[in-house]
Subunit: 284 residues, 2 copies
């Protein structure tokens, strides 16, 4: 069993605006980007008054993180405004910035309401669990899935085309997929923990959506793939220990990069968060 | 005639990583956000080796800019890597940060190629010029257009629904519009100038797309509207003094905010840049 998300998101506070986080996955050679982004957002959130919730983050991955030592998170209080609070966080290892994040927090308000993206996936309860589903997948996907289950404390259920793609490596498809995802263990009620948990897993599957037209799956040894940036907008409160539908579009690929768009929906069809990520994506 | 984009993008270099930019529009009470973002990107780009081009920027608007005094741009060289160079820029006025931007630059590479979003607008040459088109618009839109032409050195041509919306204030429509836009004067060949010019105008029209379902147009005195953040991904080289199709979707609105997605296409249908912006959007 991998370490639970609640533990991954626990930071030691070294000073008012200085935190330390651990990597719980020392088998890898580089820290999972979603972990750094999520921990950085915890650090930012811990320095913001409790009446303000995060509504967006923008981040860059700067250098590979070293999983054998802790990460230091330094919070810079850029602005404490009447309605908005902005924080910048730099994650440091070996004296160098490995990651930087800016996040904005605000008080609740009301206004115009509409939502364009729609969610049309079958309810997760009607889909096979990942553990059942993977038994029919090809061996490469089985290896990928087993490793994913060991490293990440998440439950996932594949919808439609994503499932098809994983069963047919080499097959090409439009760059769209849908995956139900949730924390595999319950999380405390603190809303910050839920947005940080979503930040964690939003970095996990997104870039792979840009591979679908090209017949590759993540983990292919012929691939060079890395997250370059990561941005999330949080629209409405949600729980990350209940199912969220992660709808992904690999919108564009070219010149060795790809830009992907993610949408997170609650089971009731509400859009709760939007994600954008550019990644490095090349054949070696 | 408003000051041309080339002049707006001219910065005075005060030191290796310190620049000063002017606002050319002192009639307004706050600096146009696109100007600050574009000038900050010029500042960042001037500190990066010439073999690297910007591929993304992420920024936050922190405080209203004062158009009566210059803006100081302070560049922080976060990373000079083998393939990627990252810069952070803070725009300062009255001793306070009014804006912050991070941008990433890279060397050309090659890899997988695909593009999901498609461009399907009529060629700009087949559309009436904005100046002709506005004669049939309602008086409110005529006022808005005249002010826009005085303040911004841009040519624009409205496509389909956007035109309809501007002719029928109070009417509601799906939150989609398409506008052809270009610099109204020729720009020098330096590719940095073209991405900065696109950054400039990408902030101008986007947030208004989220108003379409609600029967409001920008400039309505009952509205409270402001850009909160701005992100742009540059996919391929383009010229901003030739027509670019700006396709806009006001994807989501709620709790006093809206998230909009923009896509910039060349006349040949190539996706050259993607834009995301969250804004404050409320009735007073």
């Amino acid at each position: 069993m991998p370490t639970g998300l609640e533990q991954i998101l626990e930071l030691e506070q070294l000073d008012d605006r200085l935190f330390r986080g651990l990597s719980h996955d020392p088998r890898t050679t580089r820290v999972f980007g979603g972990q750094v982004a999520a921990q950085a957002l915890v650090a930012a959130g811990r320095t913001v008054p409790g009446d303000r919730a995060v509504h967006s983050l923008h981040s860059y991955f700067l250098r590979p993180g070293d999983p054998s030592i802790p990460l230091i998170y330094e919070v810079d209080p850029i602005r404490d405004g009447r309605s908005f609070t902005t924080r910048r966080v730099v994650a440091i290892q070996h004296g160098e910035a490995v990651f930087q994040l800016s996040a904005s927090f605000t008080v609740p308000a009301s206004g115009f309401e509409h939502q364009v993206p729609e969610s049309n996936a079958p309810d997760p309860d009607t889909l096979p669990t990942g553990d059942v589903w993977v038994k029919n997948a090809d061996p490469k996907t089985q290896t990928w899935y087993a490793e994913m289950r060991q490293r990440f404390p998440l439950d996932i259920r594949f919808v439609g085309e994503a499932a098809h793609q994983f069963n047919n490596p080499g097959a090409t498809a439009a760059p769209h997929r849908q995956i139900w995802v949730r924390s595999s263990s319950p999380l405390p009620d603190d809303p910050l923990i839920h947005v940080c948990a979503a930040t964690y897993f939003s970095d996990l599957f997104l870039l792979a959506s840009a591979l679908l037209p090209h017949g590759f799956v993540m983990g292919d040894e012929r691939l060079l793939a890395a997250s370059l940036d990561h941005a999330v907008w949080f629209h409405q409160p949600f729980r990350a220990d209940d199912w969220l539908l992660y709808v992904q579009e690999g919108s564009w690929a070219g010149v060795g990069r790809a830009l992907c768009r993610g949408l997170l929906f609650g089971r009731d069809g509400r859009l709760v968060a939007s994600v954008m990520q550019e990644g490095l994506l090349r054949q070696k």
